[in-house]
């Protein structure tokens, strides 16, 4: 009980000091609040940027863990039989109950636009591909399972393709005329991709693998079978890769397939580690500058309070109590400043304008304000308070009571 009274008493003293010297405290704490705000904001904004980079990586390499199976040639140098890999793969998928798989084939199709026929880089995929690569559409929708049964095949196009069609409303089921062999196939545009400016410089499209023979007249793979992808839990990626490799070797011949993990975490290292390190370093520097200002002011202030400290000692305040109270003043003040800084940071980080600026329109799932940013901000504020209070507290303890009363 005695300890509770001592701690509570010190907090009361600290709060009184903060209240009485609120202008000075406020001025000294602006630096800390701004530093904490900067620290939390940097962590929060880095989180958005990181999400953007992650999503971008996932669009190209797939979401962790994405296994890619390629089987171009048999060990004797002859192309694999066309049906061999798909059949062997179907067995693998069934045995391991892999939920998300897709074949991926790069090629091209000739599309009749208003200005003439253009070659469009096209990827033939299966329906789960969008989930596996975090593909988002800006208009319309991604393929559904029913799209495989369409008489007029469905395609999902990028913004440039769509604009070349005259930016029609997808509700009107716009079509694109695809020249294939001697004839022409009408494809229905069901979705327009949300892409960055770089991906929007030339027309591209996705088609379902089942519709690829109808639409894709240009083959970039030289007759090799389509690549196969599987999205599996990251923890299972390593053993599953080895197992699948062994199973395919057994079915198709040793070395006939290449099974590799291809997502951005495949190397094991966090590719954003350097980015996080730089951002964290800047934030800590900002905080240290704020702390230095606070220590400076706290040291000057404690010298103005020597008489008061002496009077308190005459009331029975022990050296430990004086130390704790002076330290608590700093901590109480910086915790309040920290809370204000974190609050301000939330307003900044979650402002739609800034989200758009950092995300560049490419972040689909904006992360919530990271709890770790708030925690880091508050912990940093408390630590700075304790650190900034340490020196003045030591000065206060060394005050000679008799001299202090007469100061």
């Amino acid at each position: 009980m005695r300890a509770v009274e001592s701690v509570w008493g010190a907090i009361v003293e600290a709060w009184q000091e903060v209240r009485i010297h609120r202008v000075r405290v406020l001025l000294s704490l602006i630096g800390v609040a701004v530093a904490v705000c900067a620290l939390s904001s940097v962590v929060g904004l880095a989180n958005i940027a990181q999400q953007g980079m992650t999503e971008s990586n996932e669009r190209y390499g797939g979401r962790p863990a994405l296994l890619s199976v390629t089987a171009s040639y048999a060990p004797d140098g002859t192309p694999m039989p066309a049906g061999g890999l798909p059949e062997a793969w179907a067995g693998v998928v069934e045995r391991h109950k892999i939920e998300y798989t897709s074949s991926v084939r790069q090629g091209g199709m000739r599309v009749q636009f208003r200005g003439g026929v253009a070659e469009v880089s096209t990827t033939a995929v299966d329906q789960p591909y969008a989930a596996m690569h975090r593909i988002r559409v800006a208009h319309g929708s991604w393929f559904t399972k029913e799209d495989a049964d369409r008489l007029a095949p469905a395609i999902v196009v990028n913004g440039d393709f769509w604009r070349k069609l005259g930016s029609p409303s997808l509700a009107s089921h716009p079509t694109a005329r695809v020249t294939s062999g001697d004839g022409e196939v009408t494809a229905v545009v069901v979705g327009v991709l949300r892409t960055s400016g770089y991906d929007d410089m030339a027309p591209t499209a996705f088609v379902l693998s089942s519709a690829a023979p109808q639409l894709m007249s240009i083959d970039y793979s030289g007759g090799a079978p389509a690549n196969l992808e599987a999205w599996v839990p990251p923890k299972l990626a390593e053993p599953l890769t080895a197992t699948i490799r062994a199973e395919l070797d057994q079915a198709l011949g040793a070395g006939a397939t290449s099974v590799n993990r291809q997502d951005y975490l495949a190397a094991g290292d966090d590719p954003l580690a350097f980015f996080k390190l730089v951002v964290g370093g800047i934030a800590v520097l900002v905080l240290l500058l704020g702390a230095l200002g606070l220590v400076n002011i706290a040291l000057v202030t404690v010298r103005h309070r020597i008489r008061e400290i002496g009077v308190r000692r005459s009331f029975g305040a022990t050296a430990g109590r004086v130390f704790f109270a002076v330290m608590m003043e700093s901590v109480v003040a910086t915790v309040v400043a920290g809370a204000a800084g974190v609050g301000l940071s939330i307003l900044i980080v979650k402002s739609p304008w800034l989200e758009q600026l950092i995300g560049q329109g490419m972040v689909s799932d904006f992360p919530p304000f990271p709890v770790e940013a708030a925690v880091i901000g508050m912990v940093a504020a408390t630590a700075v308070g304790a650190l900034a209070g340490l020196l003045p507290a030591l000065v206060a303890v060394r005050v000679k009571v008799i001299d202090a009363i007469r100061y």
């Binding site: 009980m1 005695r2 009274e5 008493g9 009361v12 003293e13 009184q16 009485i20 010297h21 008489r307 008061e308 009077v311 308190r312 000692r313 005459s314 009331f315 029975g316 305040a317 022990t318 050296a319 430990g320 109590r321 009571v401 008799i402 009363i405």
Partner: protein, 234 residues
């Protein structure tokens, strides 16, 4: 058992490039519970040093000092601080009220170092004692808005709020005019009696010193008992 007992207490301080300076030289003093004692002396006679020793703020260089029968020298620093807080109330010449805090908050401050009921009911206790010294209507007033007499009354309330057994008053009327000083001393004597506290007053004012039961003169570091009030005036 006496409240305070000093026997052969000396206090010397080291002076650079000189012999140590003797401030108190073989001081003998006994203060009983509830007694009124006064110590007069010229400036530099060692009055304040003696007061600091009596108030456990300073330690004698040699000699015996017992507080309520216990040798103070055996007390560790923290225990001495706690005993000072619990048993000694200080009244300073310059009041030493804490600025920026109301009269009530000033009186509450010593109770922050108390425990139990006194700690948790500090506001009510402080309000009660302020009422007792006639400042019930000025509780929320800042010290700088109070007159000198009122400030010293707040200081008296603050010194008594933990119901100490000893009140040490260092020139309590030094910053007041004669009339206010007399009034303040009357109040101090009255409330000290109410709380059963001994009162040791250090003053250079013979009239104030004459009010005490036991009177002493400190001269050149040595304490001499004085007889009647006329002796003090002389």
């Amino acid at each position: 058992m006496s409240l305070l007992r000093l026997q052969g207490v000396t206090k010397t301080v080291d002076i650079p490039d000189a012999d140590p300076l003797t401030i108190l030289d073989g001081v003998d003093l006994v203060v009983e519970h509830g007694e009124r004692a006064s110590i007069v002396g010229r400036s530099g006679s060692g009055k304040s040093t003696l007061l600091n020793i009596l108030g456990l703020l300073d330690a004698p260089t040699s000699g015996v000092f017992e507080f309520d029968g216990r040798p103070v020298a055996r007390l560790r620093s923290g225990a001495r601080d706690r005993q000072r807080g619990a048993d000694v109330g200080f009244i300073f010449q310059q009041f030493n009220l804490l600025s920026g805090r109301t009269a009530l908050e000033n009186v509450m401050t010593p109770l922050l170092y108390a425990s139990g009921r006194r700690f948790w009911r500090r506001r009510a206790i402080a309000a009660e004692i302020l009422d007792k010294v006639g400042l019930g209507h000025r509780m929320d007033t800042m010290p700088e808005k109070l007159s000198g007499g009122e400030q010293q009354r707040v200081a008296i309330a603050r010194a008594l709020v933990r119901e100490p057994r000893l009140i040490l008053a260092d020139e309590p009327t030094g910053a007041l005019d004669v009339e206010t000083g007399t009034s303040v001393m009357g109040l101090l004597d009255s409330v000290a009696t109410d709380y059963g506290a001994a009162l040791v007053t250090i003053t250079h004012d013979p009239a104030i010193a004459a009010l005490a039961d036991e009177r002493h003169r400190l001269d050149g570091g040595r304490l001499h008992p004085l007889g009647s009030a006329q002796d003090v005036a002389a």
